[in-house]
């Protein structure tokens, strides 16, 4: 059963065609790695699904909520969409003026109207699962990159969205942290979440993703089982992607 389907998504900014008819479908419980070279449109696809961008053509369907081009969607549609999709940004964007705990409880208290005490209990559980409960009173600027990422995941998870989008979570993580993150994400899929993760890291995709989708120049060029696709690339773009990932690793 598909929880997210993207049909013929086209997006243009000025003269530049960023997405040229993207088609993709994600089933519940999957951990999809969305891969591609920089500028290939990975982040833009996520931002379209999260209704942070408008687009020129195509349909996005998130568990029955449809996004289409044209006038901005109704407030009710957006509200419905927010309950289905969560997002973790590459730069986390934790609320600078709030403590870790308040970052996680803000939406449950203000949007879902959960009593504060309940929200805090749940937030503490989440932070414990992610290994950052001891930082609950810290301000975002006092966190390390890895800690900030876990708090950002906890913040998105606090609203319990069935679908979670993550933009470049592996960037700037060392290999040990990367596999910790991978295991955390696998745990999340086991508890019923669906994840779409953009990444440059083919090892990460091979080890943890259930499926990989390769995006190049605004189009899906290849997709399938990560071990299959990333070991025997069929498309030129996939080969170039693996090459650049390999040279990056060698430098590191």
């Amino acid at each position: 059963m598909s929880i997210l389907s993207i049909a013929n998504l086209r997006l243009r900014r000025g003269e530049r065609e960023i997405l040229r008819g993207v088609n993709a479908s994600v089933a519940a419980g999957e951990l999809v790695a969305l891969m591609g070279l920089s500028g290939g449109g990975k982040t833009t696809v996520l931002r379209c699904v999260a209704a942070l961008e408008t687009f020129e053509d195509g349909v996005i369907d998130v568990g029955g909520v449809e996004l289409r081009p044209g006038p901005p969607p109704l407030r009710a549609t957006i509200r419905e969409l927010r309950t289905r999709v969560g997002m973790v940004f590459q730069l986390h964007y934790l609320f600078e003026h709030l403590s870790v705990m308040d970052n996680v409880t803000l939406a449950p208290v203000q949007v879902a109207h959960v009593p504060r005490a309940d929200a805090e209990r749940r937030a503490l559980d989440l932070l414990e699962t992610l290994g950052v409960a001891h930082r609950r009173n810290a301000l975002p600027r006092e966190l390390s990159g890895g800690e900030a990422q876990r708090v950002a995941i906890a913040r998105a998870m606090a609203m319990e969205p069935p679908l979670l989008l993550m933009d470049e979570p592996t960037a700037s993580l060392d290999p040990a942290r990367r596999s910790e993150l991978g295991e955390t994400l696998v745990q999340l899929t086991k508890s019923g979440r669906t994840l779409v993760v953009t990444t440059h890291d083919d090892d990460f995709a091979r080890d943890f993703a259930t499926r990989v989708v390769i995006l190049a120049e605004g189009e899906v060029v290849e997709e399938g089982d990560p071990r299959q696709v990333l070991t025997h690339p069929q498309h030129e773009a996939t080969k170039r992607l693996l090459q650049s990932a390999w040279s990056e690793k060698k430098e590191a």
């Binding site: 803000l106 301000l139 998105a156």
Partner: protein, 488 residues
């Protein structure tokens, strides 16, 4: 050849300009009959003070040269040597005689009460005005009289910087009476209809010329000239021409000419009771500081409130709202706050008669609101877009994003410039004295005029302003640090 001719011409013109000048200072804003710009040739001056100065210059064999100076600053200006003599309705007071070299009096005037024609006969003395508002010119004998009556007779003193607005405000009902020189009263009754002046004078005073403290030699020369012009009828002719010759003057002239000998002995008691005067003024200064504080805090409160609304309107509003608010902000920022205060208090008085304090509060508050709104708008736009998008993906509505994320973060960005503005507002609050609110600076300048020196009042006033602004800057610094510091 032509060059030589030109040179000769230059020398000739320089020689004619070299006739020694006699510099005299006065306030042309004081207007007729004292000193005013000639309506037919605004570059020329006319008035009885102008003619008296011309007589003095003539007696000295010099060419008169006028220097414009604000009425309240004549004493300070002559003391620092801007001109030799100050004279445009300068009153004879003990403080002046103590601080400066004063000439003999050359005109006798009377402090008279003016009221609305319908109140004719109701208030013949200051005591009859208990609980009423009396307007007058700050720093004058009349001001001191009303101030004294405030204590003994419970009248309310309203001080002005000029002598035109008191009569306009009297007609408009903001005042119940005006106490000023009969010369000014007579002139004002011609300008403002429907007024009546009580013929019985409240007090008598004299106009004198003032010179710098050490300049007694010139002063004595001037005195001789003035006496000669009294004797030969020149002054009488001038006063008659300007319609200020009255029944009091002959006796006054006679008195002055008889007292020739006594006058010189009367002066030269030096400033020894200054400390006493300083102590007497401290409660008034503290009260004025309180007005400055209350006014600044209330105006800042209004500025913050209105500023937030304007900034939100300019960031979130429709195109029409944005245009209107932009016009407001640009007009307010592009015109002097002094002008805005005048318009609010005097300009609108035919539509709405705002009490002075309220007008001051509105004027300063709405002026600073424009500046605050720019700070908030800048701060709102400085909040990273990612913060807003993160809030949106969590399901917060646009108003929640503003209230819970954008607003609080913008507030932290705005805090430091806001504090600067508050300190600036504290100092700008001194401008409201033009609409009769007596705050710290105005009280200080009254104080300085009375003791004839700015040194002690200036230091006291600066100390009070610093005592107000320093804790503020410190407090803001602490608040900023608290938000920066860890809450761990």
């Amino acid at each position: 050849m032509r060059r030589l001719a030109l040179l000769l011409l230059l020398i000739a013109s320089a020689a004619s300009a070299q006739q020694p000048v006699f510099r005299w200072g006065g306030d042309a804003e004081g207007g007729a009959p004292f000193v005013e710009a000639d309506p037919s040739d605004p570059l020329k001056l006319r008035g009885f003070d102008v003619e008296v100065a011309e007589q003095i210059a003539k007696g000295l064999g010099k060419r008169p040269e006028f220097h414009q100076v604000g009425f309240a600053d004549i004493d300070q200006s002559v003391q620092r040597g801007d001109f030799e003599i100050g004279m445009s309705g300068v009153e004879d007071t003990p403080a002046r005689r103590r601080m400066l070299a004063a000439t003999i009096p050359y005109f006798e005037f009377h402090e008279v009460l003016t009221m609305r024609a319908e109140d004719r006969g109701k208030f013949s003395t200051l005591a009859a005005l208990r609980g009423r508002r009396i307007g007058t010119l700050g720093g004058t004998i009349a001001y001191e009289l009303v101030l004294a009556a405030e204590k003994t007779d419970g009248v309310i003193v309203v001080s002005y910087d000029d002598d035109v607005h008191p009569y306009a405000d009297l007609r408009a009902g903001r005042l119940d009476a005006v106490l000023l020189d009969n010369v000014i009263a007579v002139r004002s009754m011609r300008r403002v209809p429907g007024l009546w002046t009580e013929p019985q004078p409240v007090a008598t005073g004299h106009y004198i010329g003032v010179l710098a403290t050490g300049n007694t030699a010139l002063r004595d020369q001037v005195n001789d000239i003035l006496r000669a012009r009294m004797r030969d009828g020149t002054l009488e002719r001038i006063y008659r021409k300007w319609g200020i010759w009255d029944a009091y003057q002959p006796a006054f002239f006679a008195g002055v000419l008889n007292a020739e000998a006594g006058a010189k002995a009367a002066e030269s008691s030096h400033p020894s009771q200054n400390l006493d005067i300083v102590l007497r003024y401290i409660p008034a200064l503290l009260r004025a500081s309180l007005i400055t504080i209350v006014l600044s805090c209330a105006a800042m409160g209004l500025a913050v409130f209105a500023g937030v609304l304007i900034a939100s309107g300019r960031v979130y509003g429709s195109a029409l709202v944005r245009v209107l608010l932009t016009i407001y902000v640009e007009v307010v920022r592009g015109t002097p706050v002094l002008l805005q205060l005048f318009v609010l208090y005097y300009g609108l008085s035919s539509v709405i008669r705002l009490p002075a304090f309220l007008a001051a509060l509105l004027g300063l508050g709405l002026n600073y609101a424009a500046y605050e709104s720019e700070i908030y708008r800048g701060a709102l736009e400085a909040v990273p877009r990612g913060q807003l998008e993160a809030a949106r993906t969590l399901g917060l509505s646009e108003s929640q994003v503003l209230r819970l994320v954008r607003g609080p973060q913008a507030f932290r960005i705005a805090l430091a410039p806001m504090t600067n503005d508050f300190v600036a507002l504290l100092k700008d609050s001194s401008l409201v004295s033009v609409i009769t609110v007596i705050e710290l600076t105005k009280q200080t300048s009254i104080f300085a005029a009375n003791i004839g020196s700015w040194v002690i009042p200036g230091i006291l006033c600066a100390a009070l302003y610093l005592a107000l602004s320093l804790p503020l800057s410190r407090l803001a610094g602490r608040l900023e640090n608290r938000w920066r510091a860890a809450t761990e």
